[in-house]
Symmetry: D2
Subunit: 345 residues, 4 copies
């Protein structure tokens, strides 16, 4: 069994890793860390796991984690992972970081939106963990920068069409909507039920930190500089993310052309489900799963495409994709531990 | 007191009219009709109004309604109002129709999306009841086609900028999100709590009937043909509608220019609240009220504007705007009965 | 116009006072205080009130509040009101305290559940503001201890039957359920949407501080010591409280007897709505209003009564009843400012 | 592989059976029937299962189902199963009926609340499928009457204490609350999001059909006639059921005594989780799982016990318990297919 450490196990992404990895056939949880709850049984923090997860939360200790794990997931706020990763890698651990610290290939871009980076030397070996797109690089990686939830939902539908050269990159608009679990477990008025229920709003309209992350990957796909318009919105619900993406096409094509372009690109991808032309996606269809469902509609008169993608922001948007990346890194079945049936109701 | 009849009083728009008009200082409810509940006390259908609304629901009877009312609100599915309106108008009633039957100025456009129209002769006298925009025509009207909720939320932010010639009309995209009450009280899996809670989805992506309504009015504003991209989405909540609108600008302007353009156009409008540049709107801020809050953000690099508008789909998007139109038609204070404080929580 | 000060105006009860009193025909808000937001416009904290409430939040200042108000509402955590009330009363202000500080007639009982009381001398003049029950005392009071939400919902249905001697007091059980706004605006995992949505639970099963408050008033009604079983539960919603109350009867009676007992006791009470035997109440029917709806069902075989009561915890359970008490104290129409239509949807 | 037929596969209980059994290591779905959707792919009705469930819905055909299945789950409204079961049993199928048709041991009691029973001869062989309580009988059964959700949540906490003779049966009160999925997928105003969100209410206060079912089983446990007070309530959420149960004790005991009484009775039961004295349960802790969590609190002064139990009404309250019963009937591991991690958020 692969021995797993989860650093920051009591946040929502961390707890989702615990949930998923508890059912993984080849993995065994050995270390859970939590600054806030060190010394307490994990099942006391999450009573749902009473009798299911026997570990205690512990303070982070490099020596202990290096001796007791093979793979380490860092489910921490950015800035901490860049401090922990070097020692873990030196000790031969595989590291999957769910923060932004290792998502960028250009440190300048990282520092423009976050803060100074103290482990820039690792940029050359870190791989952006968008599993379907960077599968080959992930296979050989020791350090993964696991993608943000918004970038996952925006890049997956666009990537094949950008590669194909179909899209006028100056016209890309992503109108994204996220459930509240994306904001994490730390307390904020934003996620107080009285403030969020029966409420819908855009937020960070002047600039969300996930946008440069998207732009960098989309630029790579397009082979030219991409600077999209991205507006995130907050949904009155816990789990689920939808992106409706608009773009003008550079040439006239049929819906079949688009369907095929997507279907071919994702032909071996168990977690991508492609919808027929004109069929809308629904976050409920992917709830609790690692799926990304993609739909599209071609406005022929305007030669504009509307794409829709849905993910569970905590699964494909965080913990699920992280486990998928671990599977790929270790040569396991890509779906191991992730064959979770959805809960549409 | 002005005597009021509400035809179709037990649907959500009808019940909202009852709620608002019960508190109107110059109006008195005299007739409530309902096909389904004829003969039953209104407060039996809506126990919330126990002791507050004493009327019974009645079957629709032209003679009775003509003898007992001065103003008639038609809160019915389209097709019925075109049959009822002629007799009401002949008898000197003011008619405010909340369906689509009298929203179009061109019957061909109506018939393209709905069905054959049997009262086309009334098109010349019907006025589109977007209160702030068509105030002067409404003042002298006897027949109002009360706007759809989506058109209200999309047209209000765009109208002044189109009038100003600022917007490249070929680039307009409206990504709109509606609470479930917009689908009405009739039963559907779509509004079953188990299907809609923790769910978010686009719907009618290949064409919603509110789009031609918007296009016609926006075309009037722009002085050139407008054919926007419009994608409606369903929110897991009851009340509230948000539209995030994207468009490229034809010239470089400052945020102040845009703010002033909107502020001047709506200078005498008590129900329009304009937000400073970069501040997002929130449906919770207008819940239960007749307000339309408008925000915007200028992406300078791309010379693209992002506008956000929020309304309560049952109030400014239906019953509230209908009452506002009645006030204007009768020369009353525009806000009479509509000074409702919001319920942000 | 009566000049109103609200101390603690940015909490949920405080903001609800602002909402209600903004529409009061005889009152005018003059001072709003907030420790956290002193110096900021109230409408910045609650953008819903943009353009509707022009006041700034201020730090609490005794001299200022005494010179600028006639009535002061204290919407603060317990312990603070006992420090502020003496000066306000000395300066001739009417004081309505929404905390527990002046709800008890016996300081020993207060101190057993809260903390030492520093203004015990005021207990002789403070009146428990359960408006319908203590109307006559409230009329002449200068200091009101406004009831807790749970006590309001539990005492109102029981009081008349206890007065009547009908109930075996040793059998009273109140199973109460509250919306999350009862927990206030301060941050807690309990009200994080991800923890509360799709969740239902009892809490404080070993003792909630509202229980001694109920017991004291119910004891007064029964003329014998009452010690009920009270279990509060948390609902996945914002507003609304329901109590289902169980008790054995000391004699055999008909449903009519019970209906009449309640109807007579509340014959002049505009905010009590009594349901026919066997009809259940619904929190949605009182949402946004000051109503308490009461239903009941008699289990003849077991001679046990089941009562149901619903209130909006922020209105009749807090701010609305406070305004009702102000109206009574000042000899105004009891319903002034409180003729709010419900929002059943 | 055991071949499984699900009759009524598109209702919520049926779809939940599909979800659970799709992950069962020893079972394989072979027939799904649906009156409404016969001929359509199951994944078209539930797009969440796109790519996961390949079967089409079919009309019910006795011959076909007998030749293609070993175990048949009937997820139908009552009255239909009594017509289908005889043929299935004659053909050697194991039958698990999720309706009320085979839950009673006394046909008179069944007919008093439902309708005439046309297969009374099967009562002698049908077993009430409360897995933990009737394990031994289930092991040898061919026909299971799978318990109602309310009875499951009410009987499980009470049964051991009644067996022990601890409880004064005349004092039992169950105040139960259910998520809306218990009402099923058929359309009703009750489950319209606009009517149920921000709403809480008791319903069927004059008599719910699950009460006689509870009374019969509790009577068996107590060895004397039990006639409890049972009031169901509707929660503004999809999944989850809580029962708060009150009863007076016949003798003075300690919390440890009660804990041990429950712990011993359920010592070999993988799906019962017992909480320490004074700790409340939460429906979120069992969401998506087959667990029944039980908590309790002893009011020493009054010698009254308060018990709390939570289940997922669609899993332990319906489909999960049905699969558990299948496992027991077939001698499989009781937990096969049911090792589902909960989704606390």
């Amino acid at each position: 069994m692969i021995r797993i450490g989860i650093v920051g196990a009591t946040g929502y992404a961390g707890a989702e890793l615990v949930r998923i990895l508890s059912g993984h056939p080849d993995a065994s949880l050995t270390v859970l860390t939590s600054r806030q709850y060190a010394g307490q049984p994990f099942e006391k923090i999450y009573p749902a796991f009473k009798g299911l997860v026997g570990l205690n939360c512990e303070a982070y200790d490099t020596d202990q984690i290096c001796s007791q794990t093979d793979v380490v997931f860092l489910a921490l706020p950015h800035k901490l992972p860049m401090a922990f990763a070097p020692d873990l890698l030196k000790n031969g651990k595989k590291v999957i970081d769910l923060s932004a610290d290792f998502r960028f290939s250009d440190p300048v871009k990282y520092e423009a939106v976050y803060q100074p980076h103290t482990s820039k030397d690792l940029f050359s070996q870190s791989v952006y963990g968008l599993s379907e797109v960077f599968f080959d690089q992930i296979k050989n990686a020791d350090l993964i920068g696991n993608p943000g939830c918004y970038p996952t939902s925006v890049i997956l539908p666009l990537y094949p069409l950008l590669k194909d050269g179909l899209i006028d990159v100056s016209t890309i608009i992503a109108d994204s909507k996220s459930g509240a679990s994306g904001a994490g477990r730390s307390l904020s008025l934003t996620t107080h039920i009285c403030e969020i229920s029966e409420s819908f709003k855009a937020y960070k309209v002047t600039g969300h930190r996930h946008k440069p992350e998207m732009d960098e990957v989309l630029t790579g796909a397009a082979g030219q500089s991409v600077d999209i318009t991205f507006i995130p919105h907050l949904l009155p619900m816990s789990r689920g993310m939808e992106s409706t993406i608009y773009a003008s096409l550079k040439k006239r094509v049929t819906p079949e052309y688009i369907y095929n372009c997507l279907a071919e690109f994702y032909s071996d991808c168990p977690f991508i489900r492609l919808y027929d032309h004109g069929i809308a996606t629904d976050t409920a269809n992917v709830r609790g799963t690692n799926f990304c469902d993609i739909g599209f509609f071609l406005e022929k008169d305007k030669n504009r495409i509307v794409m829709m993608s849905v993910i569970d922001n905590l699964v494909k948007g965080a913990a699920g994709q992280a486990v998928q990346n671990m599977n790929i890194m270790l040569g396991l079945d890509e779906t191991a531990g992730l064959n979770i049936m959805p809960y549409p109701i």
